[in-house]
Amino acid sequence: MDIFLVGLIAATLRVATPLIFGTLGELICERAGILNLGIEGTMFLGAFTGFAVASVTGSLWLGFAAAVAAGVIAGLLMGLLTVRLGVNQHVSGLGLTLLLTGISLFAYRIIFGERSVQPSIDTFPKLAPFGNLPVLGPIFEQYALTYLAIALVPLLWWLIYRTNFGLQIRAAGENPEATDAAGVNVFRVRFLALAIGGGLMGAGGAFLSLAQLGSFIFGIISGRGWVCIALIIFANWHPVRVLWGALLFGGVFALQLRLQSTGMKLPYELFLALPYLVTIIALTLAGRNASAPAALLKPYRRE
């Protein structure tokens, strides 16, 4: 294994991290029957909140916790709109994204003003558990949050398929009427799913500002939330497949960056667009046997 490949794998894991957080978050929402298009804004809010709290308090972990909390609140707001009031999920999700993006930018200007030098913080350090391992060592040189993201995959699988709460989530997403008849509070389950999902999305955003960049820029999310929406379909609503999808996407992105830095003359925009195109093709192929939750997009009302 040469250095190029090792570096590529390490970068792939890094690029995939926010996508794993975000997609797992969206997965929980969708399994409960809510398409949360607020994800792009929730990740943006997480990136901002994490950065702002970390730079004011000086604690990165406090910043991370605040980002998760902000994501939970965003999820509950989505719940108020789509679960409690039962309004159109597409439009309220997009509206939420616009709202959270606007609020983050507004608050950023209030706190940091307009400066010529971008405010920045020291990022999380990278862990190197196998630092002296020959050749393969650099692959494991990752942020703690990357390890957390990967650990969340089996955890989410266990939550969804092996716990009572997971069963309730799946039931609420497949057949809310029957779930209600069985004595489960569908509203409560959907609210909780949105809260957990929002927290994960916030964590994904915070990874970018607290670990990868150490600053908050306006293009920090730049469509990653939409990628997560696509990855869900790619993963056929299964948590373990989310990991493969995120790694595939991360791999293409990392490869593009590497090739660019070697000075190869190539239309890197094509590489950047490639994962989106692959997703659309995957959607088309999966379209026929996709197993979307049956009650996705359907508001539940008790008569």
């Binding site: 709202l99 606007g102 950047l272 667009a273």
Partner: protein, 348 residues
């Protein structure tokens, strides 16, 4: 005793809802104004009244609303047929690319040729960009929300590719295209202002979609598909074909918004040609209740908020992003309050 029933509310409630939503939005967003250490009443004076009290800024409201009238019309047309086109942003950009390309190429032609060709080209480009998700939806039942959304990002890469490569301005070296030919620039409607032909074009489009939706057989088929594809199919409507038509026309109209921004405002293709106009168009369409007249009022109002945000920012130092927050809050509040029209209160 009063009882709340699930029955359509009286007509006057529908008329009051938008006004009540605006009021609630202002109360909610005044929290942010207080955070910015400004007086909410003063801020809303600058937001809503100041832009309309001077001729220059009042015209600017119309300039700002021009792309929103078009994207709002585009979204309305697709949503009416139950096709959730979230891709007006990308279709706008497709129209902008076509306008820039044609605008640069049509140097030797007079405006009477150049401008119609550009408008037509932009419409077709928007249609083509809308065609991919629309065909996938109609032929293979692929959800259009996700695909239209992804196509928005894909075309941004195409623009970046063009502006960093073949189209990079040879004069400035900036990532922008060369200026379009003088003959391709939209004439101004009012001398020495920024108000251009695109504003007129937008109103023609609004009028046309009203006519199509409300007065033609196609419009009736679209509305029946929008209300329920199953029932429409049962009634003999060709659901796929109707949806496809609505989606393509919607993409074309969004493409016109791109033409209007390139030929009327910027004269170059730039990466930031659209300030989220495609997404804001969804706000306008929803606020206007998918009624072309209501949508155009909503677009004008959003144009006012955009202009007002600049004036608040200049006068009181409140960050300009307040405008984005007000628009999004208004959308969410309206969505919530529209539910009220399904209920009425009765004395028992």
């Amino acid at each position: 005793m009063l009882k709340i029933e699930r029955r359509p509310a009286p007509v006057w409630v529908r008329a009051v809802i938008p006004l009540a939503a605006i009021l609630v939005t202002f109360i909610l967003t005044s929290i942010l104004i207080l955070v910015a250490k400004a007086n909410p009443f003063e801020a809303y004076y600058h937001f809503l009244i100041a832009p309309l009290s001077g001729q220059v800024s009042a015209i600017e409201v119309l300039v700002k609303s021009t792309p929103l009238l078009l994207t709002g019309a585009a979204v309305t047309f697709a949503f009416s047929a139950g096709y959730w086109n979230i891709g007006a942003e990308g279709q706008l950009l497709a129209g902008a690319i076509a306008a820039a390309g044609l605008g640069m190429a049509l140097e030797t032609f007079p405006p009477i040729v150049a401008i119609p060709v550009m408008i037509l080209g932009g419409f077709l480009a928007g249609m083509v960009w809308a065609a991919i998700p629309a065909l996938l939806k109609v032929k293979l039942a692929v959800d259009e929300v996700v695909t239209t959304l992804l196509m928005n990002t894909v075309i941004l890469f195409l623009i970046s590719f063009l502006l960093n490569g073949v189209w990079r301005d040879p004069l400035s070296g900036w990532p922008q295209s060369a200026q379009i030919a003088d003959s391709a620039i939209f004439p101004k409607l009012i001398p020495r202002s920024r108000l251009h032909l695109g504003f007129l074009l937008a109103w023609v489009v609004i009028g046309l979609i009203w006519l199509v939706i409300n007065r033609t057989a196609l419009g009736m088929r679209m509305r029946s598909v929008g209300m329920g594809p199953e029932a429409a199919r049962f009634a003999g409507v060709k659901v796929g074909r109707t949806m496809l038509t609505a989606a393509l026309v919607s993409g074309g109209i969004a493409g016109l918004a791109g033409v209007s921004e390139v030929a009327g405002i910027h004269y170059h293709l730039i990466e930031a040609i659209s300030a989220n106009y495609g997404y804001t168009g969804i706000i306008a369409a929803t606020l206007g209740g998918l009624n072309p007249l209501g949508v155009s009022l909503a677009a004008l109002f959003i144009g006012l908020i955009d202009t007002g945000a600049q004036s608040v920012s200049r006068a009181l130092g409140v960050p300009i992003f307040l405008g984005n927050v007000v628009q999004a809050t208004l959308l969410l509040v309206t969505l919530g309050m529209l539910l009220l029209q399904n209920y009425r209160i009765r004395r028992v």
